[in-house]
């Protein structure tokens, strides 16, 4: 039962009295065998030194390099597609500086735009369609979209275009200015680091 090799979903990868189920592995309904839930390479990890349970962990790691998938708690970069009265919809483009391979949609609700005065938020003064925002994934949301939040200083609009078509320069956490016309537009701006 040692060693590595390619396993397919459903294949037995170990016994529960010898190994703990890790990523990509689940405990079969009979309670004794561990089976793979992904296609990939089987790996054994040594047990953590301080725990009472001295079993190794077996996990299955994908054999292809998959694109990143947003997880709750990860910071993503998204492009706003639609702004509505109570929420804004955005296409997630990168997760933690890795580009995604498939289309993920996120929703930023009115109460998640900022941390203070959340019922007075005007969505149109926070985002516009086409803005690039840095957001935090709150949860997996529903079948249609992840729930995102920009309620922190370093989250919010990172780059936006003005009505005249130029990339705007941030002035404060609520305003950005167009370099061509000098017009100031309101956004929820991320603090640059």
């Amino acid at each position: 039962m040692g060693g590595e090799g390619v396993v397919t979903p459903g294949e037995v990868v170990g016994e529960s009295n010898q190994l703990i189920a890790g990523r990509g592995v689940y405990l079969a309904p009979n309670g004794r065998t561990l089976r793979a839930s992904l296609t990939g390479l089987r790996k054994i990890l040594p047990p953590p030194p301080d725990s009472s349970d001295q079993r190794s962990t077996v996990e299955v790691v994908g054999h292809k390099a998959h694109g990143a998938v947003p997880q709750p708690g990860s910071v993503v970069i998204a492009r706003v597609t639609k702004v509505m009265a109570r929420m804004a919809s955005a296409d997630i483009m990168c997760v933690e500086s890795k580009a995604v391979r498939e289309k993920f949609t996120g929703i930023i609700r009115q109460q998640d735009v900022r941390a203070t005065e959340i019922d007075k938020v005007d969505m149109y003064l926070s985002f516009r369609p086409g803005d690039i925002v840095r957001a935090l994934v709150l949860s997996l949301g529903d079948a249609r979209a992840y729930y995102l939040s920009t309620a922190k200083n370093e989250l919010g609009v990172v780059s936006a275009q003005s009505i005249a078509g130029a990339t705007m320069v941030p002035i404060s956490w609520t305003e950005m200015q167009c370099p061509l016309t000098g017009q100031v537009e309101r956004r929820k701006v991320a603090k640059a680091d």
Partner: protein
């Protein structure tokens, strides 16, 4: 063949003139006072102000410029008072057609003394006199049946009467002050109620259908008449009525 570039017109010569899209009407580098306010139909291209909509260029001293034009369709603008027709109702708002690019939302609580317990029930097709609260190009406009302080102030459904559609320019002329000549002349001889929406809808309510017909015809015909011509037209209509 050499194509000549149009030279920039001297300052203020275009005011109250017909302008078409592409005309450059102001050059900021030649102006002494560089703070100007641009209204509808004008756009800034670095130092030049150019026209986006065909119409008459207007100036309100000291520095407000805009292009006045008349259209059959309406572009929603904040604080406009308009006439809308209810198309659908959802749990949170009514969907109202305002002759604009999208339907507008009228929140169910946007009435004087509006609470969850006394939500008005409007049938599809109800005519409402409303005020635009939010209007920007990526979202559906939001309406309200109260004025800014929360009072009802004549907003709400309009009962009976007859509604007809006009251009936005005629609606603005009817609402201008001092009172438009055609309305003044009609008001001297007939008694009626009228509501004018800046989106090109006018509602009149009079005691008899004949009066209503005369009112609507007189108003629709008065769009391109001068003040005197409007008074003469109303006189002739009144004689026919006798």
């Amino acid at each position: 063949m050499k194509v000549e570039q149009p030279s920039d017109p001297p300052l203020n010569s275009c005011v109250d003139q017909l302008v078409v899209p592409g005309d450059t009407v102001l050059d900021l580098s030649t102006m002494s006072n560089q703070t100007i306010k641009l209204g509808e139909g004008l756009r800034q291209d670095s130092d030049k102000i150019s026209v986006m909509k065909a119409g008459k260029l207007r100036l309100s001293k000291p520095n407000k410029y805009w292009v006045e034009s008349s259209h059959k369709r309406y572009v929603p603008c904040v604080e406009d008072t308009i006439l809308g027709i209810v198309v659908d109702s959802k749990p949170d708002n009514f969907l109202v057609d305002i002759k604009g690019p999208t339907l507008a939302f009228l929140p169910v609580l946007a009435f004087e003394g509006g609470t969850r317990r006394n939500i008005p029930k409007f049938e599809v097709g109800t005519l409402l006199y409303v005020r635009v609260v939010k209007a920007n190009n990526s979202m559906n406009p939001e309406l309200s049946c109260t004025d800014a302080s929360g009072k009802a102030a004549e907003f709400g459904p309009l009962k009976d009467g007859y509604m007809f559609e006009t251009s936005t320019g005629l609606a603005r002329m009817l609402l201008s002050s001092p009172t438009c000549p055609v309305l003044e002349a009609l008001g001297k001889k007939l008694s009626f109620e009228i509501a004018i929406g800046l989106n090109g809808r006018v509602w009149v309510n009079a005691s008899s259908p004949a009066t209503t017909v005369i009112l609507s015809n007189a108003i629709m015909k008065s769009e391109f008449l001068s003040g005197t011509q409007q008074r003469i037209m109303v006189e002739k209509l009144m004689q026919k009525l006798q």
